[in-house]
Symmetry: C2
Subunit: 390 residues, 2 copies
């Protein structure tokens, strides 16, 4: 295992040259911000945060830069004043922030302890401090991030529901190393409860819904892994077990779910494949989160019509998304059974059903009629995608 | 409605000639039995029961003849002695009885009240007495029987789960006439509770499972309609409502579910039809009851494979049974998903699943593999029918 990890590390760790390049960029950007803040006379300081500050970043990183204000409301507006004249993109969130190249410039409030936070973002500097103090092997976080990316479980966004960078950092803090973590994950079984303090914390029910309860050491009422779902937890355990059985660099290389892969898999399974490429419109995160919800609903509706879906999902390919539905059954009878109310409903309803549907009979306890319907899952799917504006 | 019922009655009521013919046969048979009993010196008398005794029989009737013994066990054996030399067929039941032509010769025990019954059969003479005393319109029972037969809900046998003759007689006793019954059925809604006494009886839970609780007036701890299921209850209510809307003699004519009917219906629905004719082996009732259970299980298994069944069942055609399955979906992908245990099972199980299935991945929280399977419902059905010896 050690030799495999070493090989991977060589590939994924930013080179000295890149380190210096990013360092220069960060320094320049921070100085620029500080000058602008001084000019405005704001009581605020600039902090570098995120994976960059924690030394767990991967090549070509995004860098979080916090502008921490001493007090007050309208932080986003005041930060916008600071950035005036720069080419920024405003990002909608519970508190708006700004994107400039690789930098995410985030307005936060200066607080004495995490409990005083007005917004989850305000807690971020405490996260940075905790990880800096407790993380002995930042490179192991890099390995872990690449592993999770490759198996598709990296990211706490709602359209991923996987592990956030912070969760992965905490896991390495907690277990000490990548190797030790995996040895423990091999025996993970939900619910897994991890806490840096001996005190059993009282978390609300909603925070206990996830298979992993990782008590946030800087705000112990919070489950840092609250957005992880069971499927991704399971994928992680599964791949960790496979990796321990037979370590290989392959686990760190994402296999893209592209047209070619999907077609081959479908023909091996003998399923019917439906593909559609759509362009990402608007903000990527919002678009993908919505898309995921819509596809889930469409899948349920397709199954409601009696077809069965083997697999479905989407995959980003640059500025486009490849949507796929793979059908286990995709043809059905031309007519389907339309279920009405029980036969003993009030006479008016009985009468209405008969008038509406004509040839009515009994199935179980209910009035039913055979009605024309779409007999091809692909036609149905095309209609539904249109209905949901996908 | 009255003219429709009159027309039907003309068709279904035994002619004077038949009445006389059956009467002669019954008289002759009873005398023969009485002679034989006397010869044996048994303390027993012969009673004519069933629909014949109650005047609710239909053309070419079966006639129940009770041989009521004064005391003792081994009633079946003693009755067999009586019948020695006659061409009888022994019928298996909780107490065996005998069939000779149209006669069912049933050994029962003389008791003073229904509560003393050793066997449900012992209560029969009390049923006969009750109906004779309380049934004002026996011809209306005839109408009701033909109606129920035509819509397929007549018979308390487990492969029908419909209305027994006795239940139909009680319903006419209770409501007074066919017309009045239907006017009430129009508003039936489970559970329907009918009792001849004002006292609310305490029936066991099992007896309350049926949608109709019809307290047996001669044994009030019994639900006379216990074997009626919801589907047949619903069919009865449905057809009663239809009949009241537009009375017609058609409701009294069974539409046979034969090959021709099934093929036409299937082609209208665009389903895939599977037909098989099998010869009835052994006792008809036993054969059909078993067949019904087997087909129910086969249907579940077929659906477990991802196919969906629109309709299925069987229909007697003389000494054969026509079995039919009508498929809503009948083709599926060549491979199916084989579900294994959750990914976090003990390592030995994990290992075993991987070794056995090779190309394993995660679906939800479980280990799964794509495996070859039958992709045609008809092939699967043929295999299952063989497996269940149908």
């Amino acid at each position: 295992m050690d030799s495999v990890l070493k090989k991977v590390m060589k590939r994924i760790k930013p080179s000295r040259r890149e380190e210096r390049k990013v360092e220069r960029e960060v320094k320049g950007f921070v100085e620029e911000l500080e000058k602008r803040i001084e000019k405005k006379g704001y009581d605020a300081e600039v902090l570098v945060g995120g994976s960059y500050a924690k030394g767990t970043w991967l090549p070509d990183p995004d860098v979080d830069v916090f502008v921490r204000f001493g007090e007050g409301n309208n932080l986003s507006e005041r930060l916008r004043e600071v950035l005036k004249g720069l080419k920024y993109e405003e990002m909608r969130a519970s508190r708006n922030y700004y994107r400039i190249g690789r930098f995410e410039v985030i307005p936060i409030l200066r607080i004495n302890s995490p409990e005083e936070a007005k917004n989850p973002m305000d807690v971020s500097p405490f996260h940075v401090d905790f990880v800096r103090k407790n993380l002995k092997r930042p490179d192991d976080v890099r390995l872990l991030k690449v592993f999770c990316k490759a198996i598709g479980v990296y990211g706490a966004e709602s359209y991923v529901s996987g592990f956030s960078g912070y969760v992965l950092e905490l896991l390495i803090c907690y277990y000490g190393s990548f190797k030790r973590l995996f040895e423990e994950v091999e025996d993970w079984r939900p619910k897994v409860y991890l806490s840096f303090s001996k005190k059993r914390e009282r978390l609300s029910k909603a925070k206990l819904r996830s298979p992993l309860i990782l008590v946030d050491p800087v705000l112990p009422t919070r489950n840092a892994a609250a957005s992880l779902n069971y499927e991704n937890f399971s994928k992680f355990v599964f791949n960790a077990r496979l990796f321990l059985r037979r370590p290989s660099t392959k686990f760190f290389e994402a296999k893209p779910i592209d047209e070619d892969f999907l077609k081959k898999r479908s023909s091996k399974r003998g399923t019917k494949l439906f593909l559609k490429k759509v362009r990402i419109k608007g903000k990527r995160d919002v678009f993908l989160a919505k898309l995921k919800r819509k596809l889930g609903r469409i899948k349920s509706r397709v199954e409601g019509y009696g077809f069965s879906v083997y697999d479905y999902g989407f995959q980003e390919l640059g500025d486009r998304v490849l949507i796929y539905f793979e059908f286990e059954t995709w043809r059905c009878s031309r007519k389907g059974r339309h279920l009405g109310p029980p036969v003993w409903v009030p006479k008016e309803h009985f009468e209405r059903f008969l008038k509406k549907w004509g040839d009515v009979y009994v199935h179980g306890t209910r009035l039913v009629a055979d009605v024309e319907r779409v007999d091809d899952a692909r036609v149905l799917l095309r209609d539904l995608l249109r209905e949901y504006d996908v």
